[in-house]
């Protein structure tokens, strides 16, 4: 409870400071919209903002789903095959060095304005923390447990299914929480490169048309989206691995 109050207090301080800076004469209204103007924009343009937010949300959700699927397949394959892990790890890291801003327009050129390029970019950013975290989880399973499974005559696949995967679920969720927060940025990049709709596109358009309050309203919505996705991943973790909390009491 105190944590919630503290967060609220920090938020109030931040908004107050924002309002204060925005009210200064030396600050151009076109550069910085005040919280009050942003709220007004949220209210006045709500249906426009909401329609575009839904588009972005679908891109983010589908992109995340793809990253989880790809991340789990990559992590399990790399866990089962040592040569594959050694060979693929550098490429995995290299994939994160790809400048998305440069890649996005190329993808749009190749796949047009549809949802495809957005999903590709979200997935490209998000599969990485999921793969790396899950792989760490799979590799950190108690060696004694693996010995026990071997002595019980368990096949490799059964050990993976009954011991290694459940044991690394908390790691998978850690990766998912990181992915959830950066997924929104991926969708915005995708939309900037070329899109008919979406919050990212709306923000870009608003910027060009000097509708600063609408830009800020869009940013607020994108931020809320990332926070909500993070909270959702945390909740899913609690529901999926209740034992993780029992085992490690605070």
């Amino acid at each position: 409870m105190t944590r919630v109050l503290l967060t609220a207090a920090l938020l109030v301080v931040f908004v107050a400071a924002w309002q204060g800076v925005a009210s200064l004469d030396s600050v151009d209204d076109l550069t910085l919209a005040s919280p009050v103007e942003t709220l007004d924009a949220l209210r006045d343009d709500w249906s426009l903002l909401w329609d575009n937010a839904r588009v972005t949300l679908v891109e983010v959700a589908l992109g995340l789903a793809i990253s989880v699927a790809v991340g789990v397949v990559f992590a399990v394959a790399m866990h089962l095959s040592r040569p594959l892990r050694d060979a693929a790890y550098p490429l995995l890291v290299a994939s994160q060095a790809i400048p998305i801003v440069v890649l996005a327009p190329i993808l749009v050129l190749a796949f047009d304005y549809g949802i495809g390029p957005k999903l590709a970019i979200v997935a490209l950013i998000c599969f990485f923390p999921i793969t790396v975290n899950l792989l760490d989880g799979l590799r950190s399973v108690e060696p004694g447990l693996l010995k026990l499974m071997r002595s019980l005559g368990a096949s490799r696949l059964r050990t993976l299914r009954t011991v290694e995967l459940p044991a690394s679920l908390p790691y998978l969720f850690s990766g998912l929480k990181i992915a959830a927060t950066v997924s929104v940025i991926g969708a915005v990049f995708g939309e900037w490169a070329g899109a008919d709709e979406g919050l990212g596109r709306l923000v870009l358009l608003g910027n060009n048309q000097l509708q600063t309050p609408r830009v800020y309203a869009g940013i607020v919505l994108l931020t809320l989206m990332a926070v909500a996705l993070f909270a959702l991943a945390a909740l899913a973790e609690r529901l999926a691995c209740p034992w993780n909390r029992e085992e490690r009491p605070e």
């Binding site: 004694g144 026990l148 005559g153 009954t162 459940p166 029992e246």
Partner: protein
Amino acid sequence: MSTKVEAPVPEPLSLERNGVELTGVSRSFGAITALEGLDLRVRPGEVMAVVGPSGCGKSTLLEIVAGLQEPDAGSARAGAGPSASSAATRRAACAYMPQRDLLLPWRDALGNAALALECQGVARAEARRRAEPLFERFGLADFERSRPAELSGGMRQRVAFLRTLLPGRPVLLLDEPFGALDAITRGSMQEWLAGALLAEPRTVLLVTHDVEEAVFLADRVAIMSARPGRIVATLHVPLPRPRRLTDARLVELRAAALEALA
């Protein structure tokens, strides 16, 4: 603990020729020689305890018998038949119980006990069904649905025992099974195990650093030297069962074992 323990397997075990035999076993890890020229024989149906100082290679010895490791030199046999020296046959003949209970925290007690059967290809529901009637005999009634985190140390250990015994393998390998328990729980668990083995004899190789536990439970006690480990003496414990820890002859044997260790 007066819990009566009956055979967890419906069909009687054949102990015939299901012994353990190590001949000239050596095992090194890098520059460290864990075992060197170790000979050990456990007769079918016999309870053999191995005691030795910490780090003398007791666990390595047990893992070799269990078929989890191969010796660098010498031979290891467990179970019956001409193929008893292959690691796969040793794994199939031995029920191995590691030092810690290693229960899966996301499974309830019943699911943990059933794990061993599932690994043999029994369907999960069927494995749970077969494990359930044994909970009462193991003093675990009403805790079938409890997660390991909700169980006491002694109960967790009994679930681990149940998991170990369920597949009905003839050779039981115990690696300091009560080392992690407090003294009072340890005493009652030792009595419980003695009763369980009396009700259903198995070939047992018990590794421990507790001399008292060794003479209380075993037919013979092998004394192991510090690294590199080898058997330096073997004591017979010709006492009838059930035994009492306060029995004067047991106390005497304990002193003899401690002397051999020194």
